[in-house]
């Protein structure tokens, strides 16, 4: 007879098996194939040529143009991350202080804009930021600008567009972490003489760090893979790595597109690892 503990282990494994199999078949295998494609020369008529080569990676990593695009991609991600973190934490802190029912309603409201497609949202921004858009009309009406300002098709328009999509992810992640913190820890720190800032940096922030880290990961990874908003609000002068992946597919340069996708993946992993290490609730100086 199988002992109960062993049977439980098998049952747990059996439960894990379907998602694991799904992950293997629909993610790991295609990714492996993508990597295989990236190691080939291009072909005029086939998906990829017969010759194995590292030339696609060499062409990307040894070329100033691609490196400039990689820098722009990281800069955009960093700008969004910093803004989302500062604005997101402050908002989340206030929301976390509210009674649970009100908090839930506010979080629901935060997600309302996400129910609209990114394409529609981007066209909305075009209507707002365009030459004849709301902002320029308001500036003109107030006499603050003689001619319409070019607010679209640049880094700032993309940042604004992406922020409105990604900020809720950051806020919700941090609110959940903050709401789970026992307020007695903060009260204990204050009663032991710590000021509000010290309490925040020594207690609240470390305890909320898992939420901060998951929010940062979500925002960073979603920025790296954003395409519609970047394309519609940024135009070609704000192209990032994803844009070049798309361009390579439109000219049937599949191995180059695959290699660019892998460079993007490596960037995502390289930045995600240190963000993951930010999760340090053990750093909080809690009364033992």
């Amino acid at each position: 007879m199988v002992p109960r503990v062993v049977a439980r282990k098998y049952a747990a494994f059996a439960l894990l098996l379907p998602p694991l199999a799904f992950f293997l078949v629909f993610f790991v295998c295609p990714l492996g194939y993508l990597f295989f494609v990236s190691l080939h020369a291009p072909s005029e008529s086939e998906l990829y040529g017969a010759r194995l080569t590292l030339a696609n990676y060499g062409a990307i990593l040894g070329d100033g143009f691609y490196l400039a695009i990689i820098r722009r991609t990281l800069l955009l991600a960093a700008a969004i991350l910093a803004l989302a973190l500062v604005l997101g934490y402050a908002t989340a802190y206030l929301i976390a202080l509210l009674p649970q029912r009100l908090r839930l309603w506010l979080l629901l409201l935060l997600f309302f804009p996400l129910m609209v497609s990114n394409v529609i949202r981007a066209y909305g921004w075009i209507a707002i930021l365009g030459r004849r858009g709301l902002v320029n009309a308001l500036l003109g009406w107030l006499g603050l600008s003689a001619a319409p300002l070019p607010l679209l098709y640049g880094f700032s328009a993309v940042t604004l567009g992406l922020m409105t999509i990604l900020l809720p992810y950051m806020i919700v992640s941090i609110v959940n972490a903050l709401a789970a913190i026992d307020r007695q820890y903060e009260e204990a720190a204050r009663s032991l003489g710590a000021g509000p800032w010290r309490t925040f940096f020594r207690v609240t922030l470390p305890l909320s760090s898992p939420g901060v880290a998951s929010g940062m990961l979500l925002v960073f990874l979603l920025t790296l893979s954003a395409y519609v908003t970047v394309t519609l609000l940024g135009g070609p002068r704000t192209k990032i790595l994803v844009s070049l992946v798309y361009d390579a597919t439109t000219s049937f340069e599949w191995p180059r597109a695959a290699a660019l996708a892998f460079v993007l993946l490596v960037l995502a992993l390289a930045v995600s690892a240190p963000v993951f290490l930010l999760r340090r609730p053990d750093r909080a100086e809690l009364p033992r």
Binding site: L47, F65, R131, T231, P236, T250, F252
Partner: protein
């Protein structure tokens, strides 16, 4: 079905019935055929004209796949080659050489009994692997209220006063690579002089144009007055005029760029005979006016113009002189250089 739609279908069925009666079919009649095409007004015109005609004549329903961009259509055909799920597809002239090169389109059989309309199509629109159903010209569109001195040539796009107010298709747009040929023409060189074209592109970047990915965005840029000048088809200029925007189309001194849209048969389709019937219906003098009415595009069937009301005929007809001055770009040459040009274009425009 409303009475009007019924009568329309009945007339089209009549048009289709004769060739169908004589055509021998190798395979059983399918319940439906799948056609990859554009959405919006185009897809609707196709549905009301061609799809309705084949359904009325044969009972075959047409499933339109409108979800893929023109380039993505080629990709979808390519990955389905072993088990083809598509029967026919539509592209503009610039992408057909790529479709042929990628091996996703069947050659046209001019002797096929199911392609009877070929004899009524102007020969310049019949190609080895596809046949155009409508055509237009790319020239300059400008806002007559905001532009003081009207443009007369492609070279005028580079005039300093248009800085920041020019709308152009970006390199991933179907006609994106045409800007290189247009730049070369504007510099007084041959359309295939890519170096001259890219030099002009560098100068154009200094003009800070609005680069857009699709034709609707070009039209919207005119409507919203983001742009006062840009590249556009004759036909869509009429559409923008219809929105109340004061725009005018100019046939450039260097010659307008000819462009046509048409249909090919998906490689390895299981319903090749019926795909031919479908293609034939896109060339019918009775179905082409659906597109002319929707877009102001003239049809490629010599008899299609006669099916239109006189004022529409006058609007879409090109003069003999204009037809002579239409520039036919070497699409095979451009397709061969598409990857290289995309890369060069990105280095100039996207490098910032």
């Amino acid at each position: 079905m409303r009475r009007r739609s019924f009568l329309k279908s009945a007339a089209l069925a009549g048009a289709a019935a004769l060739p169908l009666a004589r055509a021998g079919f190798a395979a059983d009649k399918p319940a439906e055929i799948v056609v990859m095409t554009w959405g919006g007004l185009w897809g609707n015109a196709l549905k009301d004209g061609v799809d309705a005609a084949i359904e009325a004549a044969s009972g075959i329903k047409v499933l339109q796949d409108r979800g893929a961009s023109p380039v993505e259509r080629i990709t979808k055909l390519k990955i389905n080659l072993d088990h083809q799920t598509f029967d026919a597809f539509q592209l503009h002239d610039g992408l057909w050489p790529l479709a042929v090169k990628e091996g996703v389109v069947e050659p046209i059989d001019p002797a096929s009994p199911r392609l009877g309309n070929l004899k009524n199509v102007y020969p310049r629109f019949i190609h080895s692997h596809w046949v155009a159903q409508i055509f237009s010209a790319i020239g300059i569109t400008y806002n007559t209220k905001l532009v003081k001195t009207p443009p007369a040539a492609f070279a005028d796009l580079w005039r300093p006063e248009f800085k920041g107010r020019i709308v152009l298709p970006d390199i991933t747009h179907s006609i994106g690579p045409d800007i290189i040929a247009i730049g070369a023409l504007a510099a007084g060189k041959d359309a295939k002089d890519a170096d001259a074209g890219f030099e002009m592109l560098k100068r154009m970047v200094g003009q800070q144009p609005i680069w857009v990915k699709d034709t609707d965005s070009i039209m919207n840029a005119f409507r919203d007055e983001e742009a006062v000048i840009g590249l556009l088809y004759t036909s869509q200029t009429f559409t923008v005029q219809g929105w109340g925007t004061p725009v005018k189309w100019v046939f450039p001194a260097e010659g307008a760029i000819a462009i046509s849209w048409g249909t090919g048969i998906a490689k390895n389709t299981k319903n090749k005979d019926w795909a031919e019937v479908y293609l034939n219906l896109t060339l019918d003098a009775k179905t082409q006016p659906f597109f002319t009415k929707a877009f102001n595009y003239p049809g490629t069937n010599k008899g299609s113009l006669a099916e239109l009301p006189p004022e529409l005929q006058a609007r879409v007809r090109y003069s003999d002189d204009e037809l002579k001055r239409l520039v036919e770009l070497d699409q095979s040459f451009m397709a061969d250089h598409r990857a290289e040009w995309t890369d060069r274009w990105n280095r100039i425009v996207a490098a910032g």
